[in-house]
């Protein structure tokens, strides 16, 4: 509770939380407000926004409802962002804990692999992966995860290195716990908070990467994505700029919201720590 109060004391955090709540509401409400296929043709093509109140944000080049696409696109963006971040944190935490706790050769090997992944720009990695395997939602999530797990792995390893010398770890060793059990039951939970602090950055980056992939035509073509909407709108940028602007603004707000909320979390935990 204390933590929540700290969290809501900063205006950025409140703004971020509001945006995220709105986004989550959009994503959850999409199938209720816009049942059926959001890519169905709903009206005349290239209808500008605010002309017809049954299609408030207008229609795209094929006459699909931009508002419906925007809502369903929020689902894809959030799903990809959360799934990729969860997968990256999981892999990163496991790899980091193993490396930090085991030390020696295992540490060397795992960290060199991490280095190898880190030296390749994560977007290029995602691009190459999707173009080889073929675009679908799962593949896109995997591709983003591929470039995002290294950060959490390094942070987790650093934390584990300091924790594994603590007394309670030595105690666990003495009572004969299996090293893996110590690593994942005693060490990892304590190493987790700073790793989780990375989540906001990863979610934001994942949403942007997904949008960029869709923009390049490497998103799942059977789903509405904001990046895909921007990409389609780009061909008519001069005549119907709203087709790119509407999803573009949604994208900016989302990333901003995730980032602000993440900052809020970090700030409030920092306050809590300094208080204790």
């Amino acid at each position: 509770m204390n933590w929540l109060r700290h969290f809501f004391r900063t205006p950025e955090a409140v703004a971020g939380a509001l945006i995220l709540a709105l986004l989550a509401a959009m994503a959850l409400a999409a199938p209720l407000l816009f049942p059926g296929d959001p890519q169905a043709i709903a009206g005349p093509a290239l209808l500008p926004p605010f002309q017809d109140w049954s299609l408030p944000l207008g229609t795209d080049r094929l006459g699909r409802d931009v508002l419906a696409e925007l809502f369903h696109g929020a689902r894809t963006s959030l799903a990809v962002g959360l799934a990729a971040a969860a997968a990256a944190l999981l892999i990163g935490a496991v790899v980091g804990t193993l490396a930090g706790f085991a030390g020696g050769l295992i540490d060397e090997a795992l960290m060199r692999i991490t280095d190898a992944f880190q030296t390749v720009p994560s977007f290029l990695l995602a691009l190459a992966f999707v173009s080889i395997v073929g675009p679908s939602l799962g593949v896109v999530v995997a591709a983003i995860t591929l470039g995002a797990w290294t950060g959490p792995a390094r942070v987790a390893r650093a934390e584990v290195l300091s924790i594994r010398e603590r007394d309670y770890v030595a105690g666990a060793r003495v009572i004969g716990m299996h090293p893996l059990e110590i690593a994942f039951r005693e060490v990892l939970p304590n190493a987790l908070p700073p790793v989780l602090a990375l989540s906001s950055v990863i979610v934001a980056a994942a949403i942007l990467t997904e949008a960029a992939l869709s923009f390049l035509g490497l998103g799942d073509p059977n789903r509405v994505t904001w990046g895909g909407m921007i990409s389609e709108g780009r061909t008519v940028l001069r005549t119907a700029p709203f087709l790119s602007i509407v999803p573009g603004v949604a994208l900016v707000l989302t990333v901003l919201g995730v980032y602000l909320a993440g900052e809020g979390v970090v700030e409030s935990t920092a306050v809590r720590r300094s208080l204790s």
Binding site: D37, Q39, R61, L62, P221, N222, R234, T235, L237, T239
Partner: protein, 536 residues
């Protein structure tokens, strides 16, 4: 064809210009050709092999047709739709076993050597027949080329070959390259493939990857006073939105091949100093086609194919995907073809209820979730329009209970998936009609084509009756009998639907008013531009 030539927009733009011309007496259409100047235009792709004798495709012609000439070019008013280039006349023997070309005198290659019948014989036998993508079918029975003198080339065929087909193939398939440069070494690896040497009005000057191609005037060109331009520069602008901006900024003077997106044309036609031209592509008609994999048992059923044909609203496609710059199709020959087209074929008006009834009849009832069956749809990635039509088709199929999953690939992967691996159920393809069904159209239906041949029947369709008809037409020498056979072919294809023809479209040019003699033949963008000029 009216859909391609006259649009309300064009008329409006034209009348606006007329008004403007009264205000500014120096601007007008009746300009006299002026010598000199550099024409800068947009190029959206960078072909590496620029030899049109090997790669007969529009991307290559766009640049190399100014350098390497063909025996004849397409024409709006010439006899049989042709005008002479390197050949002055052509005559087919009654038995279909030979064609005699009389060649132009006094023509020189860019390196100064004289052009002779030996160059034609070499190009035909060593390149068109064995190596060229399209020549392989048309010249398959070419046995020898006799050259009794330097200005006569007599093509000898092993089997009777219709003269009409050879004639129709001349503009695209008969690029002549110099024998003296190609007879040494492997033809495919000849350096002249990247820096072509020809007889055309322009010489190849330089190519900077990712930047531009530059051609300079050939002072020794055979055409009197031609060419008018000093230089042609192809500015590489792969991004389609940048071509329109470059035109408006006067960085380029011409954007051909619809480099300006269709959706931008309405706006750009109102920009003073720019004109939108829909003519000059009549000989390069693209067809929007749904390719069908007949190995799928549902799609092997004619009723299902008919249902799909009824589910597609062709008028919507023309109006929305092509913004009116296209025509609906009835069959495998486009409406704007003057020789072969017939409207007398079975048609499939847009009728969702009928489509649903046909599917019910075929035994594919809707399941509880409203879906009958699922299939994979691969839209070709080459054009925005093919991709958009893919999105539309998915919706149209959803309306009749077919759940289509779109699979996007890049060009290479798409060609492999459809034409080699057959990993598709439906594909959206843009085949080109090249003036004669035997050049690149019958191949879309014919059976027995080896795996991996792109833009051919790779859907496993086999119809003995149609195969026999195709063979018969390829051996029929009499022009009117041959034409009748192709009309029969159109009827049978429309009835049995080995593929579904949806629309036919061509390209649009946007140019500054200063550019003269645009679109004066049916393959203008890929012709030699000897008479194109820049007014002052």
């Amino acid at each position: 064809m009216s859909e391609f030539t006259i649009s309300r927009r064009g008329l409006l733009a034209g009348s606006a210009l007329l008004l403007a011309s009264t205000a500014l007496p120096t601007i007008g259409f009746a300009q006299t050709p002026k010598k000199g100047g550099r024409l800068v235009l947009a190029a959206d792709s960078e072909p590496r092999n620029l030899n049109p004798a090997i790669v007969a495709s529009n991307g290559v012609f766009f640049i190399s047709s100014k350098i390497v000439e063909t025996l004849a070019e397409a024409s709006f008013d010439g006899k049989d739709g042709l005008q002479p280039r390197l050949a002055l006349s052509w005559e087919g023997a009654a038995d279909g076993l030979s064609v005699t070309f009389r060649l132009r005198d006094g023509v020189k290659w860019h390196d100064g050597k004289p052009f002779t019948a030996a160059d034609v014989a070499f190009s035909a036998l060593q390149i068109w027949k064995p190596l060229q993508n399209l020549g392989r079918t048309v010249f398959k029975d070419l046995e020898a080329v006799d050259t009794p003198d330097d200005l006569t080339a007599i093509f000898k065929f092993a089997k009777p070959t219709p003269f009409q087909l050879i004639r129709n193939a001349l503009p695209a398939l008969s690029s002549v390259v110099p024998k003296h440069l190609y007879e040494v070494g492997k033809i495919e690896e000849n350096p002249a493939n990247n820096a072509p040497v020809g007889t055309g009005p322009f010489k190849f000057a330089e190519y900077k990857a990712g930047q531009y191609y530059r051609l300079t005037k050939n002072d020794a060109y055979w055409g009197k006073d031609e060419p008018y331009l000093d230089e042609i520069v192809y500015q590489v602008l792969p991004d389609r939105t940048s071509a329109a901006a470059a035109l408006e900024a006067e960085e380029i003077q011409l954007a051909a091949f619809s480099a300006v997106p269709l959706a931008d044309l309405d706006r750009i036609s109102k920009v003073p100093g720019l004109k939108v031209i829909t003519k000059g592509y009549e000989g390069l008609t693209y067809q929007l086609v749904v390719e069908i994999n007949h190995r799928r048992k549902e799609l092997a059923d004619l009723k299902v194919r008919q249902a799909i044909a009824h589910a597609i609203d062709k008028d919507f496609v023309v109006k929305t995907v092509f913004l009116g710059y296209a025509a609906t199709a009835t069959g495998p020959v486009p409406k704007n073809d003057p020789q072969f087209y017939t409207a007398d074929v079975p048609t499939y008006p847009f009728d969702v209820a009928k489509a649903n009834a046909l599917l019910d009849e075929a035994g594919y009832k809707r399941a509880d979730d409203g879906k009958r069956f699922a299939l994979k749809l691969l839209p070709a990635p080459y054009f925005n329009e093919t991709k958009q039509f893919g999105d539309y088709l998915r919706q149209a199929l959803a309306a009749i209970g077919i759940d289509a999953e779109i699979v996007n690939n890049d060009s290479a992967a798409h060609i492999k998936a459809v034409y080699t691996d057959h990993a598709f159920d439906l594909a959206v393809g843009p085949p080109v009609f090249r003036g004669d069904p035997a050049i690149s159209t019958t191949i879309l239906v014919q059976s027995g084509i080896p795996d991996g041949v792109p833009f051919s029947n790779q859907g496993g369709y086999k119809n003995a009756e149609l195969d026999a008809l195709i063979v018969k037409a390829s051996e029929t020498l009499d022009t009117s009998a041959r034409t009748e056979l192709y009309k029969e072919f159109q009827k049978k294809v429309a009835a049995d639907l080995p593929l579904i023809n949806v629309a036919e479209w061509s390209f649009i040019s946007v140019a500054r008013d200063r550019v003269g003699n645009i679109a004066n033949n049916p393959r203008w963008a890929v012709s030699n531009w000897a008479d194109t000029y820049l007014a002052g």
